[in-house]
């Protein structure tokens, strides 16, 4: 059962990564990137952090490196895992508030989008990441409210 759950989670996150690439291919905005995979990663790191998700990020990274990028194999996996640990470290044992959550989200986006190219240092790219992180944080909050709301426990 654990293996099945693990495989289903891997498939879900791989699909999420694929959908992120697809969405950013179809919608080309100058200052916005949609990051559904990152939203998932942020949710896991800050709300459900455990060893269970290591294999998921490892496989998703290998999937990306071997099929979509000229990166050396393992680069994206390492990036996902480091982002996950740092996000958890930033949010763990802190008083939960929106500002602190948003700051961690923004820092995570910068780590998540790191590439070893000059593009990463361009002010325009950094501005794009800043705007994207605000938009994606808004999407994350909406999703988070939906996930955490247990409709079965609500009184009619």
């Amino acid at each position: 059962m654990i293996y099945l759950r693990n495989i289903l989670n891997i498939l879900f996150f791989v699909l999420l990564l694929f959908s992120e690439l697809l969405i950013n291919t179809i919608f080309v905005f100058e200052y916005i990137l949609f990051l559904p995979f990152y939203i998932g990663l942020f949710y896991i790191s800050t709300r459900r952090f455990s060893n269970f998700y290591i294999s998921i990020f490892l496989v998703a990274g290998i999937y990306y490196d071997s099929l979509f990028s000229s990166n050396i194999l393992g680069f994206t996996s390492a990036k996902f895992l480091i982002t996950c640990v740092i996000l958890n470290f930033l949010t763990n044992n802190q008083i939960k508030n929106t500002f602190q959550d948003l700051a961690a989200f923004v820092a995570g986006v910068f780590l998540y989008s790191f590439t070893y190219s000059f593009d990463f240092l361009q002010p325009q790219f950094l501005y794009l990441l800043l705007v994207s992180s605000l938009v994606n944080y808004f999407l994350f909050r909406i999703l988070n409210i939906t996930i955490e709301k247990n409709v079965l426990k609500q009184k009619i």
Binding site: T25, L81, D119
Partner: protein, 267 residues
């Protein structure tokens, strides 16, 4: 206390797997990316490279999304367009002359020595590079040039997968390509992320009347495919150097018809 220990233990396991990823990187690097190539060949069925990128745009440009406001605006736009067309008629005459010059250059490329594999971009990765259809299955090789329907070089193949490839287009910051002009001056066309820099690496004749710069077999490329026209660009000629720069926004091309050029090995 127990939770804190558990978190620390989780961190340690995560860091062990980060090191595992780093060791994968080292292995892949020293095996000349053989590992990633093998994996990519085995799981290439997971990439739908036969999807036509342009179809997305056709869908989003369809009548489904047209509003009444758009139609009213279009009426106003059309009226303005008539005024613009009058100005364009004058410009058209000038362009005809330039087209004739271009045509002469394109005809000078020995078309029979090459064949052209049509390709289309279907996805953009996180590094902002486009993936195009065709890879090992179509014998693409690293540094194969990519041209548009006018015959201008717009990029080159960087990484090849089983049925798709990553292309570095002229507006990507990693773009760098050697070139030559009709006087035999050698150039490097380089994108620094903001501008397209063109400068000589070897000078044969100092002149500002360069016209086109194109590919050459000297650099291991198919010969005489134009990269840029420097006709209307301010070229600086120093004592031992010819240089110029172009804004990235000025380098526009469409994705509708792009081709990978391959040398024809058959006699």
């Amino acid at each position: 206390m127990r939770d804190a220990n558990l978190t620390v233990r989780n961190y340690i396991i995560y860091i062990i797997f980060v090191f595992f990823s780093f060791s994968l990187m080292v292995l892949d690097f020293f095996s000349n990316q053989e590992i990633s190539t093998t994996i990519s060949k085995r799981i290439n069925f997971l990439v739908p490279s036969d999807i036509n990128f342009n179809e997305y745009f056709e869908f989003f440009n369809s009548d489904l999304f047209q509003t009444r406001n758009n139609l009213i605006n279009e009426n106003v736009r059309l009226k303005n367009e008539i005024l613009e067309l009058r100005e364009l008629r004058v410009e058209n005459d000038l362009l005809k002359e330039e087209l004739e010059s271009n045509q002469n250059l394109i005809e000078s490329v020995d078309v029979f020595n090459y064949f052209y594999i049509k390709t289309s971009p279907f996805m953009r990765n996180q590094e902002n590079h486009y993936l195009v259809s065709g890879g090992y299955d179509k014998n693409f090789v690293k540094n194969d040039i990519v041209i548009n329907e006018e015959g201008f070089v717009i990029g080159f193949v960087d990484k090849i997968f089983q049925n798709h490839s990553e292309v570095i287009f002229i507006y990507d910051s990693e773009f760098s390509m050697p070139a030559i002009d009709k006087f035999g001056n050698e150039y490097l066309v380089e994108n620094n992320g903001q501008e397209l820099l063109v400068y000589t690496t070897s000078v044969n004749e100092l002149t500002s009347n360069i016209d086109f710069i194109f590919t050459d077999s000297k650099f291991g490329q198919p010969s005489r495919f134009p990269i840029l026209s420097l006709n209307e660009i301010n070229v600086t000629v120093d004592e031992n150097k010819i240089s110029t720069s172009l804004e990235i926004e000025d380098v526009n091309f469409s994705f509708t018809d792009i081709y990978v050029v391959k040398a024809n090995d058959l006699p």
